[in-house]
């Protein structure tokens, strides 16, 4: 979270004091939660300014999470694509198998500072739920995870992991039973238990200060990658690619590079069955600005401002919104938001597994899928960093089903 290379007029100085990134972000919550949001903002500011907090976080990141994560030159994949060299930022090697623990570790230390004894969280694929249940086990805190009933069904291994870790997993049947409904239910729990409870948000969305705080905790990805790629290649990369649901792994790897304006950044939304199929999760490509879950951002919505259901093969990208800082970075043109379909993600999943011996999460496979499109258009002397945000063990049953294999 140290920022040695920040410049004046930096793109990295947002949000403003009230939590806005340009027209996006903010704090759109019920009054019951508003005092708590102000308190959280203060508590986070204090922690951020306290060297002891950073020291404690560094200790847990190194000895418990397993950081730094390596940057792997994927030579066989690069050769197969016949263009730019692909470097994988191996976030899947973190404890619990994804980038999620970076943020969760930061927030749980903050929750402990605030004296909170009970943790609630929402989860889509279950990666954030597992990460949250893990730190609750580590620190002996009560943990309640809200998960859409449909996601509970398609992510059974993660549900069982959360049970083993001592968390209570509450399936949410309201709406379509996916991530947005789990988020609503977590907010309802929080509003009913404000005194005792800390809401551990898993992505760079929600009311201020969550988008900025989660980004700060995830920026360790980009800080490391920025040093590692320079160590390995002697210069900054020619592009960075990351998958986007809410957008925390992308924000984490992008943020330390925002002021390196010659480094193109690519955020890959989940195209689902195709951008114009009506079955997509691409909030920027097919959405419009609106207000949901505490922030103003791009949302999938109908002509009456009702939120529509997202679709993606990947439960972790199945969300009709995106973090507000991404919305801003889109509008100012700093990040290119592109998409990959379910089918492209499945192909990338299989290719990476065969060529590099790394089974990616279906979320991360979207980033690999876009690398497969982009790399061949670039010279072999160019370098692309791809954020491999999670491992794919949890997705094996889903992929098997799509390939017509009965397990």
């Amino acid at each position: 979270m140290t920022i040695p290379h920040q410049k004046p007029n930096s793109l990295r100085s947002g949000p403003d004091l009230s939590g806005h990134f340009g027209p996006f972000g903010g704090r759109f919550v019920a009054e019951t939660l508003m005092p708590l949001m102000l308190e959280l903002d203060e508590a986070y500011k204090k922690a951020k300014a306290d060297p002891a907090f950073h020291e404690e976080l560094s200790y847990y990141l190194r000895d418990y999470v397993g950081r730094p994560s390596p940057l792997w030159h994927a030579k066989r994949l690069s050769n197969a694509l016949g263009g730019a060299q692909i470097y994988l930022k191996r976030e899947e090697l973190n404890h619990t198998g994804s980038h999620k623990l970076n943020n969760v570790m930061g927030q749980i230390l903050l929750a402990r500072r605030m004296g909170k004894k009970r943790i609630v969280a929402e989860t889509g694929a279950g990666q954030h739920g597992v990460a949250t249940a893990t730190v609750c086990a580590l620190f002996g805190l009560e943990c309640v995870i809200y998960m859409g009933a449909k996601d509970v069904e398609r992510q059974k291994p993660n549900v069982f992991r959360m049970h083993l870790l001592g968390a209570k997993v509450t399936p949410v049947t309201a709406g379509a039973g996916t991530l947005k409904d789990a988020m609503n239910e977590a907010m309802r729990d929080w509003v009913a238990n404000v005194d005792s409870t800390y809401f551990l948000v898993g992505t760079v969305a929600g009311p201020h200060p969550y988008p900025a705080m989660v980004r700060d905790f995830q920026s360790v990805i980009g800080d490391e990658a920025r040093m590692q790629i320079q160590e390995q290649t002697g210069r900054l990369p020619d592009g960075i690619i990351a998958a986007i649901g809410g957008g925390s792994n992308a924000m984490g790897i992008f943020h330390p590079f925002l002021d390196d304006v010659d480094v193109p950044l690519y955020g890959v939304e989940a195209g689902g069955l195709g951008l114009d199929s009506g079955e997509t999760a691409a909030s920027i490509a097919r959405g419009s600005p609106g207000v949901l879950h505490g922030n103003r951002t791009y949302l999938l919505q109908d002509t009456h401002g009702q939120i529509t259901e997202a679709h993606s093969i990947s439960a972790g990208l199945d969300y009709p919104g995106i973090g507000p800082e991404h919305s801003w970075l889109n509008d100012i043109g700093r990040v290119n938001y592109v998409s990959a379909t379910d089918q492209e993600a499945l192909q990338a999943f299989q290719e990476l597994t065969r060529l590099e011996g790394i089974i990616p999460a279906l979320e991360s496979a979207h980033a690999v899928a876009y690398a497969r499109t982009l790399a061949p258009t670039m010279g072999t002397d160019k370098n692309l960093v791809v954020n491999l945000s999670g491992r794919g063990d949890k997705d094996v049953p889903t992929v098997a089903a799509h390939l017509g294999v009965q397990l």
Binding site: A30, G175, A192, V194, D195, H304, G305, Q306, I307
Partner: protein
């Protein structure tokens, strides 16, 4: 004088608080909810809260969530809700109507256009659950220009100094969310309400009404005696929903809701 001010002035003269029943627009269909709305004053409603269905009602409990889903399924839109109010105004020019909902449908409609059309339809006030005073600047100029009251919400968690700050801009009445929780769940005790009112009275002179968790006639009587009015929502919706057949209204639906409102009204009037 605004209908809301006139209403509270008259109630003050009567020496009682307001009964404020809630209905979810288009639940379970447009005709049924229009009939219910039109008949509510006769059953004893002093002010009516009309809920605008939203796909993601994150401050609402299961009863209102389901009502909103039924309303959306029946084709509820913001324009449709305004049209319901306009129809109501053809036969009633005195009962204040306050719309309650979430920001996104209003934002998508366009806040300026919405405020103009709401005022023209006969809406008196707006409660926007997820629009705290810090963000209300996007709509306040338009509510003011169209003489709509933007109702300020307060909660048990709101500290005294914040109460003063956010109530400086309050108009119409103050909505006190009497529990930390979602609609239709816990109920505040008499002591809790009394203490809250002491805090609120120090911060504002305008009427204060209590909502969230007020179900029974006795609870409505207590709340309306301690504060200036009681909002009852989930209990009425639940009673009406029990009469539905496969999600559709039956002959018993509107009379059941009105019967519930009458009992609440009697209790409030005999406080």
């Amino acid at each position: 004088m605004s209908r809301i001010k006139a209403c509270f002035d008259a109630l003050k003269a009567e020496g009682r608080g307001a009964l404020i029943p809630y209905l979810e627009a288009f639940d379970p269909d447009r005709d049924t909810s229009q009939k219910l709305l039109n008949a509510m004053p006769e059953a004893g409603a002093d002010i009516i809260e009309v809920g605008v269905p939203f796909s993601d009602p994150s401050a609402d409990g299961p009863t209102i969530q389901l009502a909103a889903q039924r309303g959306l399924k029946a084709g509820a839109t913001l324009a449709g809700v305004l049209d319901m109010v306009a129809q109501f105004r053809r036969t009633n020019d005195h009962t204040p109507i306050v719309l309650m909902g979430y920001l996104n449908p209003i934002d998508h409609y366009g806040v300026e256009r919405f405020c103009q059309e709401a005022a023209r339809s006969g809406v008196d006030g707006l409660i926007v659950v997820d629009l705290p005073p810090e963000e209300a600047g996007i709509i306040r100029p338009h509510t003011k220009a169209n003489a709509l009251d933007l109702i300020t919400l307060t909660a048990p968690t709101t500290p005294d100094e914040r109460l003063k700050a956010i109530l400086a801009d309050a108009s119409g009445f103050v909505y006190y969310v009497s529990i930390t929780g979602i609609t239709g769940t816990n109920t505040a005790t008499e002591d809790q309400l009394t203490q809250a009112m002491t805090r609120l009275r120090r911060a504002t002179d305008i009427p204060v009404v209590a909502g969230f968790g007020i179900r029974t006639p006795e609870q409505a009587r207590t709340a309306s005696r301690i504060t200036d009015g009681a909002v009852v929502a989930s209990a009425i919706i639940k009673a009406m929903a029990a009469t539905f057949d496969d999600g559709q209204a039956t002959d018993a639906s509107v009379p059941t809701a009105l019967g519930h409102i009458s009992r609440l009204s009697k209790a409030v009037r005999n406080a």
